[in-house]
């Protein structure tokens, strides 16, 4: 007697796609979440935009001051990009880093681990879902913010900005996996992810250029992939300047992160997962 399972590449690819469609179906049943995804970046950006206008003495003077510090007068788009990239970082942390914890809470974790499927395929599905959702949200939310604050969303090199966005998400998944591994061990998922997302917002320069950091903090920020992603998008759309002057050097740096960080994250995750299986077992996460 044999089971219906067939270990083929086609079935593995179908499985990855099934994870994506399953997540999209679940998301479609939470309309409030979808709305939140789109409007939150505008709210996040609205506070510093309005504060900046109040302190800077009106929109024109605020823009002049901002240009001196950042290289662009379009502070509205600058902050909207920052808040949208932050939403991507935050979303990835919750989607991937919190993945196991969420499955444990809904009771589906053991069911996933009973399937004859390597964790890599499920994680690939979750990462792909995150990529699609985050990129789609970015486009919609950025457009909405631009309309609300009266700036043009169609400016600069949009294609290059999208490349930075898409490539930048890959090391972000690696970071989320590292967080996932830590969560497996110390289990305080909520506190850890909140700390991570707000730490990330500071390091990646959510509302400001990292040039204003002291040297040591700037080095730490530069070792953090979302900083390159954020700046890459801003530089592509607003011309604030790439870290290495040329876009392809910045992209190459992000590419290096793409290889190193997910590998490190995956290894750490699998190792920790094995340890948990040895100690208390899946389901006790």
């Amino acid at each position: 007697m044999t089971s219906l399972t067939q270990f083929t590449t086609a079935n593995k690819l179908r499985l990855i796609w099934s994870v994506v469609t399953m997540r999209l179906k679940i998301l479609s049943r939470y309309p409030g979440f979808r709305l939140l995804d789109i409007i939150m970046p505008t709210f996040i950006a609205a506070m510093p935009i309005l504060l900046g206008q109040a302190i800077g003495g009106g929109a024109v003077r605020a823009a002049q001051n901002f240009q001196e510090n950042t290289g662009t007068a379009n502070y509205v788009a600058y902050l909207l990009i920052g808040s949208n990239v932050f939403m991507m970082v935050s979303g990835t942390m919750w989607n991937v880093g919190y993945w196991l914890r969420r499955e444990a809470e809904t009771g589906t974790l053991e069911a996933l681990y009973l399937a004859p499927t390597g964790r890599g395929a499920i994680l690939a599905g979750i990462a792909l879902y995150g990529n699609l959702r985050m990129t789609f949200n970015f486009i919609l939310a950025f457009t909405l913010g631009a309309i609300v604050f009266g700036v043009s969303p169609l400016q600069g090199d949009i294609l290059l900005a999208l490349i930075f966005l898409f490539i930048g998400l890959i090391p972000l998944f690696g970071i989320a996996l590292i967080y996932g591994a830590i969560i497996l061990r110390i289990k305080e998922a909520n506190a850890l992810i909140r700390l991570a997302q707000w730490g990330a917002s500071l390091l990646m320069g959510l509302f400001f250029p990292i040039a204003i950091f002291p040297g040591w903090l700037r080095l730490i920020a530069l070792a953090f992939p979302p900083t390159w992603m954020n700046n890459g998008v801003r530089a592509s759309l607003l011309g604030v300047g790439f870290f290495f002057e040329q876009w392809y050097f910045d992209l190459a740096m992000l590419g290096a992160f793409c290889i190193l960080v997910p590998l490190l994250g995956y290894r750490l995750f699998i190792r920790t997962e094995r340890g948990v299986q040895r100690d208390a077992g899946v389901g006790e996460f």
Partner: protein, 334 residues
């Protein structure tokens, strides 16, 4: 015949943390399984019996690769634990966590389709298998509704359907009738029997002895992490042939129980409660000769007796004879 499940020296020791004061904790070792050896043969319907906390679920979790054993190993369908996890998972259909283990925001059909993909079943076979299971378990009316709208019993049925998706040669069911009403539980057992007749090996854990008596060819009784009895139902009951069982129902205070247990000729005695009444089970070599003394000991110590009779041996009696406890007792180490 080569066993389809072969377990050798399987041991699982948990490190359990106990709080000491506000900030400190102490680590304690809990032996959940100890040197378990077991062979289950193809086509068998095998029962794992024991009270809560006996180690049944730990054993099942080790066999299904959810938990790594501390020592020992097992082979399922020819694949060894830790060496071929995916091959083992492909060889088993599982129902372990009852009505949990489903995505409640998805419909029943979407759940089956997703888990079918997760088991790497090709789309056509997945759909055909799902349709067949839906029809067999009479799920047609609810299958296109979100699982969150299901009753507890309907969720259990869907979880059972999920376990059948990959048509695996081994079916592992951990207390599958929990939360099911009597009719649904009977239907589920009928399907299990049917699958077993078709050649599926069934491993069925329960603490309900009547279920095991109805379904299982052979039974292992597990207590405190060890297999304390193993055999066919007839063999296990025959092991008590030289002994007899007397059941007493009524209001039986602790003092009366102690007095009964202390009588000469009482080999084991166990007391359990249900609906404000107690049931005393006494195992002795000669129940009829013991009866007058037993009644006196109970009455003298404040018991009110409703019914008293020597009875036919059940699996529960076998458990009591082996352990001196009833199955209703929770033996989990805290």
């Amino acid at each position: 015949m080569e066993p389809i499940i072969k377990i050798r020296g399987l041991t699982k020791i948990y490190q359990s943390k106990q709080r000491v004061g506000l900030f400190r904790s102490r680590t304690k070792e809990v032996v959940a399984l100890q040197d378990v050896d077991l062979d289950i043969f193809p086509g068998e319907s095998f029962g794992l019996l024991g009270p809560n906390g006996a180690g049944k679920t730990t054993l099942i979790k080790c066999l299904t690769t959810l938990l790594l054993p501390t020592r020992g190993t097992a082979w399922l369908n020819g694949h060894q634990l830790e060496r071929a996890e995916n091959a083992i998972r492909a060889s088993i259909g599982c129902m372990l966590m009852g009505e949990r283990g489903l995505y409640w925001k998805l419909t029943g059909r979407e759940n089956l389709d997703f888990f079918g993909a997760l088991y790497q079943i090709p789309p056509d076979a997945r759909q055909a298998q799902a349709d067949q299971i839906i029809a067999r378990l009479n799920l047609d009316e609810i299958i296109d509704r979100a699982v969150e709208t299901y009753s507890s019993g309907q969720k259990m049925k869907l979880a059972f359907a999920k376990a059948l998706l990959n048509a695996a040669p081994i079916l592992i069911l951990d207390e599958p009738t929990n939360t099911l009403d009597l009719t649904s539980a009977r239907e589920l057992r009928a399907v299990v029997r049917e699958l077993n007749r078709q050649g599926r090996t069934v491993v069925y854990t329960t603490h309900v002895m009547s279920e095991a008596e109805e379904l299982c060819d052979r039974v292992a009784i597990v207590d405190r992490g060890q297999v304390i009895a193993l055999g066919t139902l007839a063999e296990l009951k025959a092991s008590l042939n030289r002994e007899g069982v007397t059941k007493v129902e009524g209001v039986i205070p602790e003092a009366a129980f102690r007095a009964a247990r202390a009588l000469d000729g009482v080999m084991r005695a166990a007391l359990s409660s249900k609906d404000g009444m107690q049931e005393l089970v006494v195992v002795s070599p000669n129940p009829r000769a013991l009866l007058p003394q037993l009644i006196r000991a109970l009455m003298d110590n404040g018991a009110t007796l409703e019914q008293i009779a020597p009875t036919e041996v059940t699996l529960e009696d076998v458990f009591i004879a082996k352990t001196g406890r009833t199955l209703a007792e929770d033996t989990r180490e805290k």
